[in-house]
Amino acid sequence: MSWSLNEIETLSRKAARGAGLSWGLAEEAGKAARWLTAAGLPGPQVLADLLTRNDGAEYEALCPMEAEEGTWVAKGGTLCPLISGAVLCDNAQRLQQGKVSLGRTAAPMLLLPYLDAAARQCGTALTVQWNGTTITLGNAAQTTGNGLDAPMAEKITISPTPVACPAPPVARRNRGDMPADVARRLTAFAERTYAPETEESRLSGAGAGLTDND
């Protein structure tokens, strides 16, 4: 089934929230799934796998801490790319100044939308590497290597690349495909954000109850 990018973003945002991320992080997770889909990458699939893996994990365990200058690792052993991505993007100016390394990170593909935003924010291209794969972001997003959809990277490096950052690229795709099981898994996470239906809420919550046959 063909999905609009808006549908993918909305479902992904709700799913991320349902899986326990804060609203602000969930908003960015929705944008990340959309960005990857527009780039022809399986954003919703990777997100569904990550949310399944981290379901129930504490923020503190997934969040990055600076083990030594320029190297960030998770207290719990494995970084969440949705949290690390947001932190990296918040530190866009620092990325511009020199190399940053991440320790063991799940679903590294999900970092790309955040790093693209960081590259645009500071006007410098960024090059990111893991498992023999190299991606240059902010500069027509070049990729070499075939580890883009690796479920895990033991080490990731992010380096500023001395080329100018051009205007944002036009979305290459306007639609996305999502395997049925991925849509089901994301929907199951999203459903956690919906309040169970009661007759009381149905009548009072939306404020209706008047006739419409007039």
């Binding site: 549908e7 602000g24 932190v87 979305a171 954000t193 939306a206 007039d214």
Partner: protein
Amino acid sequence: MEKSAGQTVSPRDPNHVMQLHRLGAFHQSRLSFMRILLRRLQGEVWTFDRPVFDIDARGVGRAVYSAHGPDRSYSLVAFANDLPPEKRSDRVIATEWDATFTLFDGVPTTEDLDRLQDNVPRQEAGRISEKELSLSRANRSVRLWDHVVECLSHGRQPDRQKVADVGYLMRTTAVYGSGKFGAADRDMTSDRPEFLAPFQVEMLSVFLTRAFVMDLVEHMASMRAPDTAVPLDPDLRRRFGIGNSTGLGMAPFLLNHPALLNNWIAAREEALARIRSLETAHAPEVETFRRFALRARLHAEEWTSDHPVQIEKLAALRHDTATLLAHLDTVDLTADMPWNRLWLWSEIALSVEGQELLASLLMEPYPHLVDDLATCMAADEPATWRINGAMPLDDLRALVEDIYGWALGIDWTAHKAQARIWYTSEAKLEPRLGERFEEDLDAYEQPLCPGRDAARMYTDLQTSDEATVAGFLMRHPEHRHVARRAQIAGRLPYAEIRDNTIDATVMPIDMLRLKLSFFGACHFDPRSDRWVRINMYQHAPFPHELGERSGDDWAYPFLTEGVV
């Protein structure tokens, strides 16, 4: 947005404008999306045709209404239904409607129509594609529909008072756009000149829907009595708008699109500031203003509601229009910054309803100062959305104090201050407003209460020793959404509603009216504190009349039949 040369009056303070009781008193204006659309259709000489109209005597079938612009065509595809009364509901929980619609990108083939026939009548349960730009439905106003068919089939025109009492033959409910249910994303069409301004897809869909509904009622009369039936008198026909019935779904939109909200309000405030800054006014401009004030009085008289709050507001509005017209007879409005003088007078003499009506009326004589602002009303949301992590934490503290100062003064431990809770229901996924202390909903709360959330963040900001926003948010991911809002509103002053959206006394209809006024809706008629009916395109020309009649001047009733 650039200030005009010589502008001496600044746009109004967001702390004054962005309060719910004022936003809930906004009226349509030259900058409403319906008027922006019809000005374009007229200016570019769009043409219209009806390639398909295949509807039987029971009113069941399909029709296509196409609009052809300079570069592209769009078609409203309509499916008409014979709906039993027990199924007629305007609520989002309905499963069948009198008519369903989609706006097709181009002119559909028979294969397209067959595919759409399998999906559009099912609305949320169906699926549309990137060839479709919107999805909507409408129900008849049964009392007026039956009356009109009855009269026309007997060769008579319907009763004018009955037409005035209801104002439309069908009410749309949801009009979905922007990628909903598989439709094309807004990004796919937002660079087309005809869709640069907000909600032009939806407004075009509704404009063509009105034409279809009027054709349908005449068709039904003609099928019932082919020998005696007559069409509607063209003047009476234009008195029918298209209704809309809207619930809470619209309210979260305003909170979820702060940059867009800013640009709507900023355009309106800039228009007002430009006009208030004028040193002088020419006599014909003053006369134009006076005639619009007379028409606004007529509009206020025709506008009815059964809702106690709206009844009170309407009484104030009628009093205001009388006060304004009396005042106009006593002042010289040609010199000494006349409109600013009038504005300052209104702040003392008129209710909030009247003040905001005056803001709309002042734009009427000045299309050259106002209409170009329509191009500023779309938003490049990604440009202001990312958090600036390098911002010093003191700057974020200062932003919160400036934008949410009103919220920092509220005692949030008091039940009254957060008596309500926004959530999404399991059924049909509709937004709802619950009672926090009576229902067990806290786990499902949506982030639609920026004031309280900003106050919570402020408490942590006061004790944080982090130097930057990046460091603070790493420790406090729970504040991330409201930190983003504060930064957006720091760049865009009208981005945030500066009022408590979860207070015990909040009226969600204020948010609905704000949005609907920018659409260009009239006759705002609340059915409860969270559910409203409105009228759209009343008095507007039909597609085939554009060119003969103004696509711009129709939003207030005319003083005498067919003139002005």
